[in-house]
Amino acid sequence: MNFVVALKAEAGPLIEFFKLSKQSSEELPLFTNDNHRLVLSGPGKELSAKATAFLRNRFPLPNQAWLNFGLAGHGSLPVGKIFLANRILDKQERAFYPTQCLKHKLESSALRTCSFPLSGYPEAIGFDMEASAFCKTASPFSIRELIQVIKVVSDNPDYPVDTFDRSSAGALIEKALPSLLPVVDQLETIAKKIELPMGLKEHIDSVFSLHPFSETQCHQIRKLLTHAHALGASKKDTLQLVMEATSEKQAISNLSNSLENHRILQ
């Protein structure tokens, strides 16, 4: 699970809750535990994009959950309200529609990412300075279902941004945390759902280690082992077939022949 958060004050409650440790000697402020990674981007689109790319390059795992979390202004929601962005607008970019696949009780709202702080609230939607760049940068790294933006309202027409007391940021986020955490859990569950079936990846890796397969052969082996798994063949048997082979070519042929009679739907 990857968090991209603009400011330390917004990230503090998350760092504390997940017991994230600051990593030293990193290009950007990075906090991690075994399953969660949080980067502090700083404010604005450019920094958000840079931090998102940094986190991806630092942990290059496919289809991880990505969450941009923090404070935002809003044209109609009350201060302290937490909302899930249902479309991210930006005058310089195409609109981004995060798939609304989460079961949640949060408000759902559009969010416009601006390059500069706005003086007013021209629409009844959210306003921030990072989300569009975060979504654009994260989208080549993961499926859209796993790229989400959640914000807590810090200011609105009744309490404009110039009256916002920065020292209250942590308290606003902390109050919103109980609503956020079930959504984080769901994102992690969804990310697990799209992984290869249980143990298959490890099995494929162990087969790869038995012979010096070429790229093309790896592709063939991966496909054969996936089919073997789908057809209910035992991992022990398929491993044995590859071990017994005296060449890479023979390993592929052994696997292929062993599956031939099973390639039929029950």
Binding site: R87, R94, Y97, Q100, C101, K193, T226, L231, I264, L265
Partner: protein
């Protein structure tokens, strides 16, 4: 249950949109400039979206009625298809839609009148001959009837234009839209079948084979022409026993005289769709079958395909005359270049 409805700007005023909104008053409404902004982006997970698809209300522009592939038809010389809806309520593992569309959201094109105008234009190109219009190419024609009101709207239209013929292709057993109306001889309701054992494994969320047989029997009794689509043919253990049993069951219940047509379709999917389908469901035994690439398609090895098709043809010809049997050579249209 639809929880999220995207809508093109300006489309909510349309009477069909209003009817949908009345069905789902609590749905979250999200505007978009064009349905493709939501539907088309790459990097969406069809599999995850299928768990709870959103509905997109849109207006279909450009060409609304298209010619069907030459090998697809049930006897007519002029054959077209149109799609008032993209995607399907059901989740059949063999369905080419999961390889063709980037998203599992339903797209409902609410401008039915423009579809009807285009259908009329096509029909008038050969005014003295039957022109066929297939409605279940990119969706199940009737499964979402409660939401789309498609049959309710189009059946009276086809009643007025007897030379325009409509095929409703479905696995639905909710056929109130037909039951409430007088039967039309230019509308064929065609039900797709695989044997029980295959349906149980591959046709998720689909009514059982026996309930579909009951449904087809019921509307045939009401006088509606019905069709049987054994499509796609799925290679499986005990193939002959299972398919013989299915065909027997169908014709024990149905008077073959009331069956307009029967078609057999091989399982053939454009290569790129098949790759996407097997990537979506790596644990699915169907995709580990004896397939090969032929031309632009992936299908069962030729000898298997021919043997299976021949067996079913022979079984079907025990019940129906040859002129009612049609062979469809493709499942899924080729990707646009």
């Amino acid at each position: 249950m639809i929880k999220v409805i995207y809508h093109e700007e300006g489309i909510l005023d349309h009477p069909h949109s209003q009817a949908v909104l009345r069905l789902y008053p609590k749905a979250t409404l999200i505007p978009c400039a064009h349905y493709k902004d939501v539907f088309n982006p790459s990097g969406q997970s069809f599999r995850l979206q299928k768990e709870s698809p959103a509905l997109i209300l849109a207006r279909k522009t450009g060409s609304l009625v298209h010619p069907v592939p030459a090998t697809y038809g049930i006897g007519g010389r002029h054959n077209f298809y149109f799609s008032h809806l993209l995607n399907c309520l059901y989740d059949c593992r063999y369905c080419f839609l999961q390889g063709m569309f980037p998203s599992a959201h339903y797209v409902l094109f609410v401008n039915f009148d423009e579809f009807k105008n285009e259908i009329l234009r096509k029909q008038k190109e050969s005014p003295d001959e039957a022109t066929w219009f297939f409605s279940g190419y990119d969706c199940d024609s009737l499964a979402l009837e409660q939401v789309t009101g498609f049959a309710d709207s189009f059946l009276p239209f086809f009643a007025e234009h007897p030379n325009a013929h409509l095929e409703l292709r479905t696995k639905s057993v909710k056929l109130k839209a037909l039951e409430d109306k007088s039967p039309l001889q230019n509308v064929v309701t065609a039900f797709s079948f695989t044997p029980d054992e295959i349906s149980g494994q591959l046709e998720h969320k689909v009514p059982s084979v026996s309930s579909r047989i009951r449904a087809i029997e019921k509307i045939a009794d009401l006088g509606w022409p019905v069709g049987i689509r054994i499509d796609p043919l799925i290679d499986c253990k005990n193939f002959e026993k299972r398919y013989r049993c299915l065909i027997e069951k169908l014709f024990t219940k149905l008077n073959p005289d009331f069956v307009h047509s029967v078609s057999l379709g091989a399982f053939r999917v454009p290569i790129s769709y098949f790759k996407k389908m097997e990537k979506l469901y790596p644990e699915e035994p169907l995709f580990a079958g004896k397939f090969e690439k032929r031309g632009n398609f992936t299908g069962y090895r030729k000898e298997i395909e021919e043997k299976r098709s021949e067996f079913c043809q022979n079984e079907l010809l025990k019940y129906i005359p040859e002129e009612k049997l049609f062979l469809c050579e493709t499942t899924g249209k080729e990707p646009k270049q």
